[in-house]
Symmetry: C2
Subunit: 350 residues, 2 copies
DNA sequence: CTGTTAGCGCATTCAC
DNA sequence: GTGAATGCGCTAACAG
């Protein structure tokens, strides 16, 4: 005899529904699982009614194990409270929703170790696809371990996409940080700026490095060099930038333009400039990167490099959800947007 | 004879590990499941080695069904790309992570129907707990359906918390919008403002309504009324506010202070004011609500009402994850923060 | 301490 | 078209 289904706090099962409807579990399953050829209307209705009366909700785990797969996609980001990531996540979740797949979002708090741990957890969940978004790092050990985890996940049929740098053995959407930064440098030079400083973010993050090196090469093409002391590393955050910029402004070299490798940092620079008695954009131009929506109305309007964040997230999700896409590297171009934070600098002011 | 485990693309199972290690599945399970009393070191090592060689990753779904529960928490937000929600989500995910539970985040795109659908999906996933973040609505039908789904979920042992208004039959963290807005009104009045306008967000969202009514009551206490035409409803977004404010400034009534019911909207108002030839904060004060981190450096600095977003998310997650908390309503106070966007208004200017 | 076995809830072959 | 039986991968009694 089977265990009585009297236990309160226990969820109704398919068997309960079938019993109440007076049919077999097979029939109940057929009614409740979309896709199968549905039973006769009268049985159908009875099953539906029974399910309704019981507030039956199919156990997705059981379904997953019976079918050997889930309709879950994972998105792993470095910091969801950073608009850069939340916009990408929004785009990805939008597409996932349109495909009827649920998204599990994980926040690594910028710890590569946690990135690996989450990927493994998602693998355990048998997520259909995972998107890794966030700067790659230099640490070879971390990369190796991540690659191993990636391989295992893919071996099991998981689809994966990476948004950032093509450093991993996976389908990746590469943001063209380098050429964007280079174009920005060229533009700023054209506006008359000559003495640059760069807030480059953490040393080991590729995103910052790429933007820095692109910027540098753009400058070099114009015959300008970044003097020593004019590149400052620090946290990828507003506060990190504020601190670094304060230090920068206290030093003797007087830049006429500061490039922060992302918008959030640029805002920190602007605050620091003000607190140092400067009055941006007078005498000091400030530029960022990303073109974060939330920051589009700051004054003076921020010169930056626009990245189609939302669309990138959407595209990444589309790729992992579509079985026919062949993994590869898709480069996304960025677009320089000159705004009021870097006004033309008159020659005599130099 | 059992099916050969040669199929490529198939994930290794516990049985594979056990066979390779030369032990029973039970032993393998014990080694691989933390918490159980571990077998002898030598067996232990063999199992671990086998698991490593196979890149074995436990099937969380099977584990869930065998144990009758998961370590997944759900967070349902209205719009993850809105800093308000992403900060709350960040706080919640932080706590979840500390408890070793994965977070499934869902974005309703401000559609209450989707909120219900996601709750149901999370229920199906047998998530341990779910947090609903976002304004409640008026629509009684939607509320009833949501309450029903909530009841079913809870009946199955799920824990639930709501962040916003105590409108649902569930543990809730209520943000004291009303008193926060009232205090803001008082403060603005004290600064010399007299002719107010309010951008109230969508009509059916409680969050906006509460802030509006609180503001109104604060004004009333000072003997000021909101004239007709000075309350404009619209989208809860920057663009919605921009449009509404533009309209407002085009009308004949000349407010000396605009209160937007959230910061993102306030930024839109500021942009609209500028585009209408006004020069905030000269002649026109602007205030928001939330004190979004990303916007803390805008100029002029935004007068607003601070809500401990991150902490609220963390607290909500703590509550649902801790079995001993008794459901109830926890009110969170807000704090008025006067900044440069609402400078003292000299009497003669009135 | 280790192995055997019976479910967990559901999808799905296979007979009827 | 419908039902009975099997198995998905794992955990937890229960034996040994």
């Amino acid at each position: 005899m089977r265990r009585a289904r009297a236990t309160p706090g226990a969820r109704p099962t398919l068997e309960d529904v079938a019993r109440l409807a007076g049919v077999s579990v097979a029939t109940a399953s057929r009614v409740l699982s979309p896709g199968t050829r549905e039973p006769k209307p009268d049985l159908r209705d009875r099953v539906l009614a029974a399910a309704g009366r019981l507030s039956y909700t199919p156990n997705a785990n059981a379904r997953a194990i019976a079918r050997g797969g889930t309709d879950i996609a994972g998105v792993i980001v470095a910091d969801i409270s950073d608009p850069y990531f939340s916009e990408i996540a929004a785009g990805a979740m939008r597409v996932a929703d349109e495909h009827g797949v649920l998204t599990t979002l994980a926040d690594t708090r910028r710890d590569p170790r946690r990135e690996i741990a989450y990927l493994s957890a998602l693998h355990g969940q048998r997520a259909r696809a995972v998107i890794l978004v966030g700067s790659r790092v230099r640490d070879p050990e971390v990369n190796a371990e991540l690659d191993r985890e990636l391989a295992a996940y893919r071996a099991g049929g998981g689809r994966i996409a990476v948004v950032s740098q093509p450093r991993l053995d996976a389908d990746t959407i590469a943001i063209d940080n380098r050429s964007g930064a280079r174009a920005l440098a060229t533009g700023l030079y054209g506006l008359g700026y000559r003495r640059f400083a760069v807030l480059a973010g953490p040393r080991d993050l590729l995103t910052g490095s790429e933007r820095l090196s692109g910027f540098r090469s753009g400058l070099a093409a114009a015959g300008v060099e970044l003097g020593r002391g004019s590149v400052v590393y620090g946290e990828f955050t507003r506060d990190g930038a504020y601190a670094a910029a304060t230090e920068l402004f206290a030093a003797s070299l007087r830049p006429d333009c500061v490039f922060a490798v992302n918008d959030v940092m640029a805002v920190g620079v602007m605050a620091a400039a003000r607190d140092c008695g400067l009055n941006p954009p007078d005498g000091i131009g400030i530029a960022g990167f990303d073109d974060i929506t939330t920051l589009r109305d700051v004054v003076p309007a921020l010169t930056t490099v626009r990245i189609p964040l939302y669309e990138i997230g959407a595209e990444a999700m589309r790729r992992v959800l579509d079985p026919s896409t062949t993994p590869g590297v898709r480069r996304v171009r960025c677009e320089v947007v000159i705004r009021a934070s870097t006004p033309r600098r008159s020659p005599e002011a130099r």
